[in-house]
Structures are given as structure tokens and as C-alpha cells.
Amino acid sequence: MKLNISASSARAAALAAIVARLFIGLTVDSPASFHNGAWVSVLLGGALSVPWLLGVDLLRQRFRACPGPARLLLMSVVLASSTMGAAATLADLTRSSGYLSLDRCHPLALLIPAGLAALWCVWKGGDAIGYGAMVWARLFGTLMLLVALLQLGRYRSQWLLPLLGSGWRDIVRGALQSTGHIMAISGILLLPDDAEAAEIGARRLLRMLVAAVCVAAALILLRLMMTPTMTRGQETWLKRLDSLLVNGRAPLYLQLPMIAAWFGGLLHLLVCECFTAAASFQRLSERLDGRLCAFLTVLASVVLSTTLSPAAGFEGFEAWLAVALPACAALALAAMREKKEA
């Protein structure tokens, strides 16, 4: 079984995953980046990712011409980053489901079903995941609209002030983090084999990035209007999750759409990352069966997620990624140019 994905499916999967990663990453995972200027960080991060995404598209177009060692290096980095990303998402899933009345369950009892679900979805193929993302994007939009409507009378625009939050330094740090998040997801964009004209591919990628960044920024803005700035700060991960899921101060029974959006977003992110990891693993050794690759990468993510401490470790990882991936891409491009000249 070959783990293939078409370019349009990869873009759809990436769009939904980027929105989820940026939103979760900035609002819950990284307390330092969640301040009134977080939406500016997201927009800035999106702008910083443009050259990277154009590079990814260029690489994808010429991937077959890419010399062996450079391709292996690039795929190894994608494999590592997406496995780590999947592990982080699994950890988030376990913690949040534990928080929602399943705290007496053993973590493995929460991890294994999520791992099995991810495995099942990866086995269904890349296009199924991409099409699923297209449907999820619509569902997510409907859920968020419902969430906004439920909260409409309670949003406080004055809580957005000061507009730049704790200052440019934090905004830039958040922007780098956002770039890291986008880069972590963008591995899936390297996988399609479609022969798509370079210009069209780049235009569509940019459109996808703009849409993802704008949606994420809008969601963060809404989130910022839910709780006043002074209550944010040194809260625990669970406290931040709680204040997100309670949808501001909506009655408890009206929180269902937010919970569905949270779990749905995380699950889509998990599936997308697991697929990227499995497919990049298969690109490392074409003889391996896709099902086996999927099983091994999901297993690795499950094992890794049990050893992870809460999100703090990931901030460093994202920063590392923001350096490692462009370096690999540059190496691959240089190798390609050398090959062409030779």
C-alpha cells in the first residue's frame, strides 16, 4: 500500500491543521505567547512563513529530481517533526479528555483509542484525510459560529486593549513560534506527486496560508474577548483549557460546540501529522508497506507522548524546527542545483 495524497487534499489537510495548531499552540500550549498581541503574532508568523511555503512548493515540484541524500535528509526531518507533532497532539488529547471526566482512566486507555483511530484514518489514505479536512473545515466553521452566537452578548472588546499586549518582544517570539507551527505542518505539502504548474501551486498555497492565518487570528481575537487580560498569566495548562472550553461564561450545557470543536480540531491535527509521518517514513524506504509505516509511526507517537512533559518542551522544539527545516530545504535546493549544473 502506497501512502499517496493529491496536492488539493494536502492543502486542505494543511489548512485545517494549521488553524488547529496555531489556535491550540498559542492559546493553551504556550502561556507566554498568549497576550493581547497574539493575533498580531499569528499574522506576522504567517508572513514569515511565505518564503518557506514557496520553497516547499518548489521542492515538491522538483522532488523527483532531488538527489538521494538530500531527499533522505529532508524526509527524515519531516518524519521526526511530524512524529513529535503527533506525540504532542496525543498528549494534548489525553490531557484534555482526562480533564473532561476521564481523569480516573489510565493515560494509556486514552492514548490507545486515539492511536487506533489515527491508524485507521491513515490506512484510509491521504485523499480520505484531505476530503475529511474539507468537511471538517465546514463543520468547524459552523461550530465556531455557534460558539460565537452563544457568547455574542458577552464579548468585551475593551479586553483587547492594550492592542499589542506585552510588547513587541513577545509578539516576535509568538511570531517565530507561529512560523514553527506552520513549518511543522507543512511536511504534508511535500508529499503529493501531482504534476501541477509551479505558478498555480504557489498561488493556491499562498491562498491556503492566508486563509489559515486569518481564521486563526480571528479565533484568537474572539478568545481574547472572552477573558480579561489580568486573569491570564501563570495559569496551568488545565486552567487555560478550562477557560477556553467553558466558552467564556456561557452556561455549562452550552459548551458542547466548543468541546466538539476542540476535540475535532485535535483529532484532525493528529491524523494529519500521523499521515505525514507515515508517508515520509515510506518515502525513506519505498519497499516498506504503507500500513506498516503507519503502524510504526503511530506507535512511536504513542510511546513518545507518554514520555512528554506538558507543552513547555515543544516551544523549544518548534524553535529548533524553524531552523532545521529551512536548513534542510536549502541543502536540498543546493544539491538540486549542483545536479542540474553537472
Binding site: 487534499s9 479528555s97 476521564l102 483511530a117 474539507m134 476535540f263
Partner: protein, 498 residues
């Protein structure tokens, strides 16, 4: 014995009538096989033998247009052949010459009459099919309030005629394909030339021809033998017993498969949205059609998720329920000895037991089933504190949601999905329901029908008329679906607003 039969079937007719007759008697095991009829007659001194199966062929047609025509026939030359008989003697419109023994046997089995001629190596095959068949009647499973009421019947010929009545176009093509390697039966691939995509026609034709089963019993078997993923819970071809629905599929560029002895048609490729559309939608004004369709979609979601959500919320997330509702549930459940999961499974099982029994029960005692269902399983179970009244409401709404789905097979698939969601909700609460929903969504997205994505035109996005989740005004629907051939002559070209 089989080798002998096979050798008899091979080859062509000889010029000797008695030898041919012996051969066919051996093939049909005459006289042990009492249905096979060998009727000798003469035409101006030429011996003829009519072979047919009693019951499959119309006796009246044979005696009036074959035997009497021969007895009262004109003087004929000393040497005659099959073509001479067709042109000068026989009074049946559909006749053909055939010399291959196997083809002649197949025709006789299908109800035709073979007329063997002494001194001629060819037989005349006469269209004399006249077996009893049900009259065109109301549909039983796809009833509508407004619109055509007639349904397909078991006769393939009648079904093809019904389709032709709905689409009186010379471009409606009906290709007969024989399926079944040992016992063959006829299937017909119907499509609208220039509307259905060539790739779809090729794919459907290829799959029908590749059927390798020794015998194919109707469309149900054909469906299972040609669908993309036999392991899937949802059907990837749509069965309909309504000719108007099949005709509407043809007009949208899909192909339709008919088979003998099947009172329905198979349409392909189909999407999830086809399974949620009903014939009423296009008969009603757009506002009513849209409203009813939204009710149906809500019914589908309720059918799959309501019991799972109920178990998740009452077992794990009580804090998400309003206090008054939580109080009512707790009070209603206070005397019930079973956990909610067992309670739900008992009710679901009872519901489908009644459902299945209702399908099989003789009509005369059908009313007894209602009494059993309503009194014993409803009232008595609540009185005996086996189940809580609120659960009866949940299961009843779920059942109603399921019945709102127009496609019967799709409805059954959803019931199985519901059990999966119930199990997930019981094990992991809302987290489990979300996991199950993700798996179901990706599974549906990975599904294909004749190679076309099952969730198109939503995922992947394709151009389509505003007739998907909503049924917007009919004048806005100027193009056939994306399934149709590009540049098809069915395009309206402009909005035909009144």
C-alpha cells in the same frame, strides 16, 4: 455426464432435423424434464420442430403465429431455409436466425421458441416470451406523498419500458450484458448517450462483464459483486424501486443497471447526498423540498449520534446537562437496575426485533405486533423498571430519524454505525464519540462509487447545482451534476427563470 452435456452444447446445428431434435432432447433431459416441449409440425411437406419451455413461452403465440401459420402457410419451394420462413411464413415480429447450439439453448431457457427446419443448419428464434409477471404497482419502500407512484416490477422488459416512458429520447441506450458463468441471466446497462461520462460507462460495463460468479441472483448480488469496497458499511450504489428516480439519475449523467427478476434499479456512481434525496424533493416547491431535506439530514445525524451522546453525557459529563434535565433523568433512572449502556442495548435490540418481525409477519396479524411493541415493550418495561421512560423517548426519536432516510440499505448501515458510536460513548464519553465521528468521517471520505469520491461535490469540491443539502429553486439548476460528461447536450446554458 457434464462432459457429455458440454460436448453437446458446443458446435452448430446439423442439417438433419431428427439429429438436432435428439441433441436438444438430450440437453433438456426430455422426457424427465416435463417443461421442455418438442412440437413437430409440417409446412408443405417440410418437417419442422418447435422447441420451447412451457410456462416461459406463450402457448397462444406459438399456436397462433407459428403452428397455424405453418399449417395454413403458402406453397413453398422444394428447399427452404430459416430466412425464408421469417420473410414468408412466420407472423411474429421479432425473429432471428441462429446456428450455435449454446445460443439456441440460452434463448429457449429465456422463453423464446426455437424452430428447427429439416434440411437446414439454422434455427429460427422467435420472441414468444410470455411468463406470468406482476403488474406495475405502487412502490412499497420508497413511498412519496406527491409525485409518481409506480414502481419497478420483476420483469426486465417492463422496467426498461418504464424508463423509456420517463425519458423518451433516442439517446437512451440499453446495453444487455449476460452475467453468471454457469446459469446466465440478463442485466441491462442503461445510460443517456452524450450525458453519461464515457469513463463511467466503461467502468460499469467492465465490472459487469468481469463478474465471475457461477450464478447471479438479481440486482442485490450484482451490487455486491461490482461495488468498490465490499467491506464498507454504506452502499456505494443506490437501489431504487422508482422509475422516476432512476430516470432522474440518468438525466444527471449516472448509469442505471437493471436485471431480470429484480423490482428495482441500481444507480451509479452515487454520493452520500443521493442517499439523502427523495423523489418528493423535486416534485415539491423549493421551500418545501429544502425544509424536508434538512429534516432528513437532521434525522441522519440524530440516528447516528443521539444514543451515543446520551450515554456519554449521562455517564461521563453530567455537568454539561441543565440541572432540571439531569434531575429528571436521575429520577427516571432511580429504580432501573441496569447501567445505561445495557439499558440502551436492550431497547435498541427490542426496537430492531420489532422492526424485523414487522417485516416478516403476515399482514393479517400485523396489528398484534403494534400491541406487543407499544404495550409490552414500552409500558410494561417502564412499569417493571427495566428501562427508564426517557430512554424510550431517545430510542423512539432515533428510530424516527433512521426511518426518515429514504435509502433502506443506507439506513441499515447507519444503524451499525450507531452501535459503534454507542460503544465509543460508553467507553470514553464525549472523547469516544469524537473519536468515532472522526473515524466515520474519514471512512466516508475514503469511500468511492465506481471510482468517484463518495462525498463529492463537497469533498473534493466540484461544480454542482444548488441541489445538495438545500434544494434551491429549479431555475437555478441549469447544469447536470459534475458526474455528467463535459459539454453535455443536457446543459441548459442559462438560468431558465420563469
Amino acid at each position: 455426464m457434464d462432459t457429455l452435456q458440454t460436448s453437446l452444447l458446443r458446435g452448430t446445428l446439423s442439417a438433419e432435423l431428427s439429429e438436432n431434435e435428439r441433441r436438444f432432447k438430450a440437453l433438456f433431459k426430455y422426457p424427465v424434464n416435463s417443461d421442455a416441449q418438442f412440437r413437430r409440425t409440417e409446412l408443405s411437406g417440410h418437417s419442422l420442430c418447435a422447441i420451447y419451455l412451457e410456462g416461459m413461452a406463450d402457448d397462444k403465440k406459438i399456436s397462433e403465429f407459428v403452428l397455424r401459420a405453418c399449417a395454413e402457410g403458402p406453397d413453398v419451394p422444394a428447399s427452404i431455409d430459416a430466412r425464408y420462413l421469417i420473410e414468408n411464413v412466420l407472423e411474429i415480429a421479432q425473429c432471428e436466425c441462429e446456428d450455435r447450439v449454446e445460443a439456441i439453448v440460452d434463448a429457449i431457457v429465456a422463453g423464446k421458441t426455437a424452430l428447427l427446419i429439416d434440411g437446414c443448419g439454422e434455427a429460427v428464434l422467435l420472441e414468444t416470451r410470455g411468463y406470468p409477471a406482476r403488474q406495475v404497482n405502487r412502490t412499497t419502500n420508497e413511498s412519496v406523498v406527491i409525485g409518481a407512484q409506480e414502481g419497478f416490477v420483476e420483469s426486465l422488459r417492463t422496467n426498461m419500458t418504464l424508463l423509456r416512458r420517463y425519458i423518451p429520447s433516442r439517446r437512451l441506450i440499453t446495453e444487455t450484458i449476460t452475467v453468471g458463468k454457469r446459469v446466465s441471466s440478463a442485466a441491462v446497462l442503461v445510460y443517456l448517450d452524450g450525458v453519461a461520462d464515457e469513463r463511467v460507462i466503461e467502468e460499469a460495463r467492465g465490472r459487469l462483464k468481469r463478474i465471475d460468479a457461477p450464478a447471479v441472483q438479481g440486482l442485490g448480488a450484482i451490487q455486491q459483486l461490482i461495488e468498490d469496497n465490499p467491506w464498507s458499511l454504506v452502499p456505494q450504489l443506490m437501489q431504487t424501486e422508482r422509475p422516476d428516480r432512476a430516470a432522474s439519475c440518468l438525466l444527471e449523467g449516472q448509469v442505471v443497471i437493471l436485471a431480470d427478476n429484480s423490482p428495482c434499479a441500481l444507480a451509479a456512481p452515487v454520493t452520500l447526498f443521493h442517499q439523502l434525496h427523495a423523489s418528493d424533493d423535486s416534485f415539491s416547491r423549493w421551500q418545501y423540498g429544502t425544509f424536508l431535506r434538512l429534516i432528513r439530514i437532521a434525522g441522519m445525524f440524530i440516528s447516528v449520534f443521539l444514543p451515543g451522546l446520551y450515554i456519554a453525557l449521562t455517564d461521563y459529563h453530567m455537568h454539561l446537562l441543565p440541572m432540571s434535565l439531569l434531575g429528571s433523568i436521575a429520577e427516571a433512572r432511580s429504580n432501573v437496575p441496569f447501567p445505561i449502556l445495557v439499558e440502551i442495548l436492550i431497547m435498541e435490540f427490542s426496537f430492531y426485533l420489532i422492526n424485523e418481525a414487522g417485516t416478516r409477519i403476515p399482514q393479517q396479524i400485523g396489528s398484534a405486533l403494534g400491541i406487543v411493541g407499544a404495550l409490552i415493550l414500552g409500558q410494561a418495561a417502564v412499569s417493571a423498571s427495566i428501562i427508564s421512560p426517557i430512554l424510550i423517548i431517545i430510542v423512539a426519536i432515533t428510530g424516527l430519524g433512521n426511518y426518515a432516510i429514504p435509502d433502506y440499505s443506507f439506513g441499515i448501515g447507519l444503524v451499525i454505525c450507531r452501535l459503534f458510536v454507542i460503544a465509543s460513548g460508553a467507553l470514553l464519553g464525549l472523547y469516544g464519540v469524537c473519536l468515532a465521528a472522526s473515524c466515520l468521517l474519514v471512512s466516508l471520505c475514503g469511500q468511492r462509487s465506481l471510482g468517484y469520491p463518495y462525498l463529492a461535490p463537497v469533498a473534493p469540491k466540484r461544480s454542482h447545482n444548488p441541489d445538495l443539502l438545500l434544494r434551491l429553486p429549479i431555475w437555478t439548476q441549469c447544469d447536470p451534476m459534475y458526474l455528467a460528461r463535459k459539454g453535455t447536450w443536457m446543459r441548459a446554458g442559462r438560468k431558465v427563470r420563469p
